[in-house]
């Protein structure tokens, strides 16, 4: 017991992986602390899945060090498999089996763990116990995947994009289940490209882009690093571009940028910045076509760091 307590659940140093000429992971470092939910946040193709699959022992790195629960892949595989819970990005379970049959199958692989019935009620699929997997909704399938990850009472849980493609209600339901699991004090590594998901579930977040960690901290710290609590976005009618430096010098504005005709201002004091912006636009006789403000999010952190959005849609 002391053996596991003194080890970090996961430590990754200088991880590298390339597929031919494409570098997927480029010197990535991570540390997950006991009992923490750690999020890898980044756009598609950032190297999140490659990273998590190397940590899961399903992929081999080209370089770097991975220590999971104080053990290493290639030496302690059998033991690690017993102690890890894994939900892959897109597993299609056999459609002809029922929920109970699927969970029972996965439970039979592990020495210790709750009964299949207990796991099914943990993910709130009791009413679907006898239903074929083929008849489940997307959210129910993801909960089944979570159940199969939990059958061995894992010490570390890997969730690769657990809510991708789900409707908002199913997503919220899954979040509640993951929060419930977090309460048991066991560590989770989660990948996502939804900033709300990372903000809500994760104790700490690493923002990943092009196979590297470009920012690391609690969601609150990362947002605070913008030194601006609000974001003000606007679009103007057919005019020549407005100088970004002029916008950045407005009262209450920290920085300004422009992309595809939409201007983004990071704002510390909204009540001063809005009148200043409107005054400036009136002075330049520029017509405003759109104006939005919102509290700064992890998405804004990502945009500030990379100039791109997490999801380009």
């Amino acid at each position: 017991m002391t053996g596991t307590a003194t080890h970090l659940p996961l430590r990754v140093r200088g991880l590298r992986k390339a597929y031919g000429d494409v570098v997927a992971v480029d010197g990535l470092d991570l540390e997950i602390r006991a009992g923490e939910c750690f999020g890898l946040l980044g756009p598609n193709g950032a190297g999140k899945t490659t990273t998590i699959e190397i940590c899961e022992g399903l992929n081999t790195p080209d370089g770097g060090e991975v220590v999971v629960l104080g053990r290493q892949w290639g030496r302690d595989d059998r033991e690690l498999r017993e102690r890890l819970g894994i939900s892959l990005q897109e597993t299609l379970f056999s459609e002809k089996l029922t929920v109970a049959e699927t969970v029972r199958l996965f439970r039979s692989f592990y020495r210790d763990g709750p009964t299949p019935e207990a796991v099914i009620s943990m993910v709130q699929l009791q009413e679907k116990t006898g239903s074929r997997v083929g008849q489940l909704s997307g959210g129910q399938r993801q909960r089944l995947a979570l159940a199969c990850a939990l059958v061995g009472s894992p010490e570390l849980l890997f969730l690769d994009e657990p809510t991708t493609g789900l409707d908002p209600q199913s997503r919220r339901q899954l979040w509640e289940l993951i929060e419930g699991y977090k309460a048991s004090g066991r560590a989770i590594l989660l990948t996502t490209h939804y900033m709300e998901e990372a903000e809500r579930l994760c104790d700490r977040v690493a923002i990943v882009d092009h196979g590297r960690v470009i920012a690391l901290g609690t969601p609150r710290e990362l947002i605070a690093s913008l030194r601006a609590e609000h974001v003000l976005e606007f679009a103007a009618g057919d005019t020549s571009p407005i100088d970004e430096r002029a916008l950045a010098s407005l009262e209450g504005v920290c920085s300004a940028g422009q992309r595809d005709g939409t201007y983004r201002l990071q704002v510390s004091e909204l009540h001063r910045a809005v009148p200043a912006l409107l005054g400036e636009l009136r002075r330049r006789e520029i017509q405003l076509t759109e104006l939005r403000t919102h509290s700064a999010t992890l998405e804004d952190v990502f945009v500030t760091l990379t100039g791109r959005h997490l999801r380009e849609d």
Partner: protein, 353 residues
């Protein structure tokens, strides 16, 4: 007692094997092709080629003039012939389209002309029958007295020949399809990857396929042979033990071939193509529906090396001739080589992702 039972039920090999049964039984099409189709095929072939009173041979006669009428009368006297009286061109048309086997017409004062295709066996038979009728009608007397006794011996009929062929074909199909399709489907769905992320024993995963294959084989063989024996009286002259050994070894060999074909394929379409590529030559050359010895000598070594040829030869020798284990050794050897070779190669090539 109860906990013992629970432990047994929760064993992963048991669970994996149960999954195989469930997936199979819940796929009605698979059940049809594996269990029902071979029986329908046996029934169809057995009925189509049943030994019955020899069919009467249809011939045409061009009934022109006195000689023509005499000829027609002589032919109608033979009970084995059905005689149609047609005009010259209509008769040739009937011959070309296969409605009659031969056209007979008067030629000159006393002569008769036969028109027929020597390539067609029934035409050659018709020529003998017609000629016999013509000569007898003109007063020929046979110098030798002949007596006839007709026999129908189980074992020499077409249905006896074809049942071992169908059994071998069925064992091949369900072995190759059963493993190939299920494994590639699981790989495509990333289920294989998900399974190796658990502590599951990979050996047990593959063993579950063999276990379920063997139990389903018992049902398959019992249904098909039971039907053939009860309905058509197909003989089982060899020992049932020997038959079981042949079936088991064949099922394992074809499962190994299925595993080999599935070892790398990423899509179901890909593996289906591979499976057909491998099975097609065996459907043609291995003597399912007619003897493999009809093919030229030059390709016999290739045919004899095919696993299905060995399986069907062994099944026929055991069922129809009651061959001993010693006599079946060459066939069993070929099957065992395919089993070991495919399995070793499959395990080396197999990809879980």
């Amino acid at each position: 007692m109860r906990t013992e039972r629970r432990r047994w039920r929760s064993h992963s090999l048991v669970q994996l094997t149960l999954v195989r049964y469930r997936e199979f039984i819940r796929e009605p099409e698979a059940v049809f092709w594996v269990f029902v189709f071979p029986i329908l095929l046996t029934a169809g072939l057995g009925i189509a080629f049943r030994n019955q009173a020899p069919e009467r041979t249809a011939v045409a006669v061009v009934e022109s003039g006195q000689a023509g009428a005499r000829l027609a009368k002589a032919l109608r006297a033979n009970p084995d012939l059905t005689v149609q009286s047609l005009g010259d061109s209509a008769a040739m048309e009937a011959l070309r389209t296969g409605r009659v086997a031969l056209v007979a017409m008067a030629a000159g004062e006393r002569g008769v002309e036969y028109r027929f295709d020597v390539e067609r066996p029934e035409s050659r038979a018709a020529r003998l029958l017609v000629n016999d009728a013509v000569q007898r009608g003109s007063g020929r007397r046979d110098p030798v007295g002949v007596s006839e006794r007709q026999v129908s011996e189980p074992g020499s009929r077409y249905v006896d020949f074809v049942v071992p062929g169908l059994l071998g074909m069925n064992i091949m199909g369900s072995g190759i399809w059963g493993l190939g399709f299920a494994i590639v489907d699981a790989r495509r769905k990333k289920l294989l990857k998900r399974l190796i992320a658990t502590p599951m024993s990979r050996t047990q995963y593959l063993a579950s396929f063999l276990l379920s294959r063997i139990t389903m084989l018992v049902v398959e063989v019992a249904l098909l042979l039971g039907f053939a024996v009860l309905v058509f009286g197909v003989p089982l002259r060899g020992s049932l033990g020997m038959l079981a050994v042949i079936c088991l070894l064949s099922a394992l060999a074809f499962s190994a071939v299925g595993l080999l074909l599935a070892s790398r394929a990423q899509t179901v379409e890909g593996v289906s193509g591979l499976m057909n590529l491998i099975m097609l030559p065996m459907w043609i050359f291995s003597g399912v529906f007619f003897s493999a010895s009809r093919f030229p000598d030059s390709i016999q070594p290739f045919i004899q090396a095919l696993p299905l040829t060995a399986v069907i030869d062994a099944l026929r020798a055991s069922m129809l001739e009651g061959a001993s284990a010693a006599r079946l050794l060459p066939e069993l050897g070929v099957i065992a080589l395919w089993l070991v070779g495919s399995f070793v190669l499959a395990v080396r090539m197999f990809r879980w992702r």
